[in-house]
Amino acid sequence: MAGSPVIRVRGLVTRFGPQTVHDGLDLDVERGEVLGVVGGSGTGKSVLLKEILGLIDPAAGRIELLGHDTADLDRAERTALQARTGVLFQNGALFSSMTVAENVMLPLKEHTGLAPGLIAEVARVKIAMAGLPPDAGTKHPAQLSGGMIKRAGLARALALDPDILFLDEPTAGLDPIGAAAFDTLIQGLQRSLGLTVFMVTHDLDSLTSICDRIAVLVDKKIRVGTLAQHLADPHPWIHDYFHGPRGRAALDAKERNQARRHEEEDARRLAKG
């Protein structure tokens, strides 16, 4: 889609003591795309996410979110901007003293002036859209399984209909069926809500199935490209990542899926014709 990028990072430098994590990192995320962020352990994927969200201050560089430089925002502008982003943390980060419904209602109560009845109804719809059964709303996070916690976290992240959705390893810890269902859910919501998704993940199946572009953190910088571009990249880490046994398996699965979809389409066309 045309227009200015929703996330623009320029010359980002991150240091923890003597250790430099990012050194002059540039990144553009376009409106409406699903960007997968990968990298080895300790390359600063989650740190990058936290810097974009303003939870950690970078040592140098500029971060623009929806056209605003995050460094020079006053309190009210920052709050307004935060209402336009939704975050699903790695372990859900649901408030354990509240029920799932109360968790989802909290941002609605804080940021909108809707009537309590309408807030409860909207929360119910969000919970259902996240694929949770209706009785999940009255449960506390401790009563939920890992997959349900992720779904509840997603419902809360989507509470305010954000423009950008940040996901930190959304499918980590889920079984393959649950992970695939979660991918489908994110893709469905992304399409129907027109979200921009920034997804930190290690799940090769998610990368190949729902990401439009993939950003790889290597050598303290980031390389963004489509799957095909990364497959042709001679960089040793990127090559090992996408051509390793797991990478191959995920790509094969994608090809099989595509082949099956084509066959189904052909069959449908034949049946029609």
Binding site: A115, M129, P134, D135
Partner: protein, 418 residues
Amino acid sequence: MGLTIRRCSATFQACRPNVPVDVRMRAAEPVAATLAKDGTAKDGARIETGPVDGGWRIAAAGRWTLDAAGNASDALDRAPRPPGGAAVRLDLARVEALDTVGAYLLNRLAERLGADGHAVSVIGLRPEHAALFEAVRDAGKAPPHPIEREHHPILDMVVRTGQTTVNAAKEILDLVGFLGLVTVTFARLILRPSRLRLTSVLFHIEQTGLNALPILGLLSFLIGVVLAFQGADQLKRFGAELYVVNLLGISVLREIGILMTAIIVAGRSGSAFTAQIGTMKVNQEVDAIGTMGLDPVELLVVPRALALMITLPLLAFYADVMGLFGGAVMAYATLDITFGQFIRQLHSAVGINTVIAGLIKAPVFALVIAMVGCYEGLKVSGSAESVGIMTTKAVVEGIFLVIVIDAVFSVLFSMLGV
């Protein structure tokens, strides 16, 4: 979000004369209700209703988003109802922006009209809104939360009282059961002393004993000072200043020294036990211990209980000494009783029995504090929140039991004539 309602019906004008009237007469729509945000028709969510040939038309327009949702919801409620049985066409062609809340409101409208017996058809849905509209419609189909049953305040209170009583009884039973478990484990360890974790015991002796010395010493000293001062004030009236030593000796050695120690240790170490074991429980470390063929009670509870039973009598004796020292300092400062006089008087006032009557309670208190602390720690379930709840509970229960048992000891001693 200043949405105003503009209607052109005469009846509405009559009851709301200050509302500006926006006449939108069309052949097919004699009644039109328009919502506008801040008076500009472009920004807000608008709705127009009216009869069309053989039916009723509801047209939504503008931005149906979270910002306008509150007023849009009110306006939908106030919009004129279609006549009974009329087929309704919900026209969404002029909806400029739609988010989940807007889609939900429109879906709810369609659903309510459907429930009232109208045949509802949605027309003109823009392709970019279709996916969201359908996703929300599917999500909205899920049945609502089960309605919670009606509450009766008095009945609820009775139920709660009963539940609390039963829970308290269960708790006591469990605690006694836990004490039995720990005793059996203790006995096994006496038979096979090589299995005792000596390093762990020493670590907890340092944590609960050595590290408690500064705070316990200071507090006992201050209590001694206060007791001596208050006692001296009263005894001076009778010219019996010297007896302040008797007062201090009996009260500090028999009760205050050990009680202060037990309460401070319950707050300091009992809570620490719960938090330590509880955090291990949350991290599934306790489960891991079990799967490795190790016994959590042997590994976690016995060293702590043993350490506390060794340190608490020592701490209590230290508190006794510090309390008497505080009293002696105060007696010297206000009553001119020298340290020599103080010690001579103390010798005549208290015997070794008094000291033993105080210190004999220490191992019992230690066991109770350690039991409660470890028991509540092992009862932590899943969440980090429950670590906090259980830690608070351990401190409250620990101090409560210490004071109850102290009272039992008092009764016992008076019956035995000690």
